[in-house]
């Protein structure tokens, strides 16, 4: 946790970022925008969205660290942003995991085994002999 009342830490001014840095960051953002547009036209199947998200995350970190001065902010401000992002991932992750398993009745292995139940998404037994 951040120290009690950090009169010691200086405000943002001492570390104010110079204009050339801002321009460099702006240039990087422009390049990344171009890259994401170009990469969208290459057919990578399901990886297209993954690549797009990676580029978006890098652009986001650039904006957050330089434009929003998080680079010189206190740990608490970083903790707030990170906990927000984690909470969103939590909501998305478990909701989509529920969606993925809705029709396949997968079980946590040790529970299924306790009961001698064949986890249903295991491969189907060979074609049953004709009754």
């Amino acid at each position: 946790m951040s120290e009690q009342k950090d009169s010691t830490s200086v405000t943002g001014e001492q570390h104010s970022i110079s204009v050339p840095t801002y321009l460099a960051v702006f240039g990087a953002l422009m390049v990344l925008t171009a890259v994401t547009v170009v990469s969208a036209h290459i057919d990578l199947g399901h990886f297209n969205i993954v690549v797009a998200l990676i580029i978006a995350v890098t652009k986001a970190t650039l904006v957050v660290t330089y434009f929003m001065h998080l680079r010189y902010g206190t740990n608490m401000t970083r903790a707030v942003l990170i906990s927000g992002v984690i909470a969103v991932f939590l909501l998305m992750g478990i909701a989509i995991d529920d969606l993925r398993n809705r029709h396949t009745r997968t079980y946590l292995p040790f529970i299924g085994a306790l009961n001698g139940v064949r986890p249903p998404n295991a491969p189907l037994p060979p074609h049953p002999p004709e009754e």
Binding site: Q4, L91, I94, D98, N101, T106, Y107
Partner: protein, 544 residues
């Protein structure tokens, strides 16, 4: 002990109440203490509205055929009870009234970090609350406080849009309170007040504010999407157009389960304060109680799926949510054990706040343990959506949060108003509330196991006996809640004057006069010792 001795305030007769007069001084105040009292007034009105709906429901359930009201009126009554009690009373109750008033005093600050934001929060709360109250009274909502789709979007023809919009607005009031509290706790503590000297009520407010910040926006979006779906029939949650009603439940419960921790965590903070003061004993396991407040807030975000075990959610997700729900029960158990241990070798005085606190421990224990029934998969299949669930969350919210709130009002009343209430009358009221509560909700556990579903206007005849007990209990409970309103208002005018530290407590808020000056402290106190240090009895210094 704080070094600085409270000496003669420059003019003891001037305090935050008589510093300024007139409606403008109250409606445009930036003083956290006055905003706390403004919130107290607003939520007491809504508590009365919700309580009235509860009494109507209990009266209607006296007979299996439900003769008091028609079907749809009953549905509107229990929705009004749910929406008003949760969004308009319980969520703001302790954080906005007690938290606003006491938090800056406890950490030695002159006010919250953003006073204007605090006043804006009260106005936003009232605008949203009036929207919701208008929707409930002018035609009502019949979807239940959960607004489940596709009923709320496709087939309900009640004021769902305006009611949901009201709840949507009140959400932002909670967010502003959360921002205010975390910023204040982090940046504006008195010198010497390190993290492990913070009063446990401040820890509880910190944990509650985490949930305010991370949870409330999700319910805002959920209600917004539901309103869009209802207005334009776009198929967001409409299965015919490719939507999935279970997604609504995921989004709704992602906020609404942490919301029940918003309601109980502040009461836990209050109980830690009251127990230590009235048993003149240092808190048992300070760091464990503080850590379990934060643990409850964080793990609370992982467990929302135990509301959806039978909703068509995948069995795999149900197993995961059941396992995580047991993890969140452990910190609550730790707290109860620590409170009980605090009484050991103390000097216990059974005054009104202490009666509420001990009542809290008893009822919260039963509420918490019955929660285990509902996070266990097998029993939840049988007990879900029955009166067992109704009894469980009333034991937590009414037995826990409301008892904690009443205890807090009684404990800090001398500090808030400078007046004393009638002690014996207060103890009688507390006991009536305890007895009435148990008679109302314990029979509902049995009703739930028998299988009586919740939200039922008519029920089979064999459930009538237990329902009659429950209604009898509800009337006793109603009287129990009326008494404090009467004698507290009476005490404002005629109650004897209270000294600065009426209970001889150790918190910073008791080092200033009652009621405190607008600036809270004559000069910022310096904290040197660890919290709840009741080593030598605090002789009460006479102020003026």
């Amino acid at each position: 002990m704080t070094e600085t001795v409270v000496h003669e305030a420059h003019d003891a007769s001037v305090n935050y109440l008589n510093a300024d007069y007139g409606v403008r001084s109250w409606l445009f105040t930036k003083d956290h203490k006055r905003i706390g009292l403004l919130y107290l007034a607003s939520i007491t009105v809504f508590f009365a509205l919700g309580g009235l709906a509860a009494l109507m429901i209990r009266l209607d359930l006296l007979t299996p055929a439900g003769d008091l009201v028609r079907d749809d009126t009953y549905n509107k009554l229990f929705t009004m009870h749910g929406v008003v009690m949760i969004f308009l009373f319980l969520i703001p109750s302790i954080p906005a009234v007690i938290g606003n008033f006491v938090l800056p005093l406890m950490i030695g600050a002159r006010d919250l970090a953003f006073p204007r934001l605090n006043l804006a929060s009260w106005y936003i709360f009232n605008i949203g609350a009036l929207f919701a109250a208008w929707a409930l009274l002018a035609g009502g909502i019949d979807t239940g406080w959960t607004f489940y789709t596709p009923y709320s979007t496709m087939s309900s023809n009640s004021n769902v849009l305006s009611g949901a919009f009201g709840a949507f607005i009140t959400g932002f009031a909670s967010i502003l309170t959360g921002v205010n509290f975390i910023a204040t706790i982090h940046r504006m503590r008195a010198p010497g007040l390190t993290w492990n000297r913070l009063p446990l009520f401040v820890w509880a407010m910190y944990a509650t504010s985490i949930i305010f910040i991370l949870g409330t926006p999700v319910i805002a979006i959920t209600l917004l999407l539901m309103m869009i779906e209802r207005a334009f029939h776009i198929g967001l949650f409409d299965p015919a157009l490719g939507g999935d009603p279970i997604l609504f439940q995921h989004l709704f419960w992602f906020y609404s389960h942490p919301a029940v921790y918003i309601m109980i965590l502040p009461s836990m903070g209050v109980i830690s304060e009251i127990i230590t003061c009235f048993s003149r004993n240092r808190i048992f396991g300070y760091s464990f109680i503080a850590a379990s407040s934060i643990a409850i807030a964080l793990i609370g975000f992982l467990v929302w799926g135990h509301h959806m075990f039978v909703s068509g959610q995948s069995a795999n997700a149900s197993l995961i949510f059941s396992l995580l729900s047991f993890f969140v029960a452990i910190p609550s158990a730790i707290k109860v054990f620590n409170w009980t241990a605090t009484l050991y070798r103390g000097s216990v005085r059974l005054q009104a706040p202490m009666v509420y606190a001990l009542g809290f421990i008893g009822l919260f224990t039963i509420g918490g343990l019955t929660g285990l029934f509902l996070s266990t998969l097998a029993t939840d299949v049988h007990l879900h959506d029955t009166y067992f669930v109704v009894a469980h969350f009333h034991y937590i919210m009414v037995g826990g949060a409301l008892m904690g709130y009443l205890g807090a009002i009684h404990f800090w009343w001398p500090k808030m108003t400078g007046r004393l209430y009638n002690e014996t009358l207060a103890k009688i009221a507390a006991i009536i509330v305890f007895v009435g509560f148990n008679l109302t909700f314990f029979p509902q556990f049995v009703l739930g196991f028998l299988g009586m579903p919740r939200r039922y206007h008519v029920y089979p005849d064999e459930f009538q006996v237990l329902n009659v007990f429950s209604t009898a209990g509800a009337s006793i409970l109603g009287i129990g809640y009326l008494l404090p309103v009467l004698y507290l208002i009476w005490s404002m005018r005629y109650g004897p004057k209270a000294e600065a530290n009426h209970w001889g407590a150790v918190g910073l808020e008791w080092q200033t006069s009652s009621p405190p000056p607008t600036e809270n402290f004559d000069h910022t106190p310096v904290v040197t010792s660890e919290p709840y240090d009741y080593r030598e009895p605090v002789e009460v210094k006479k102020v003026a």
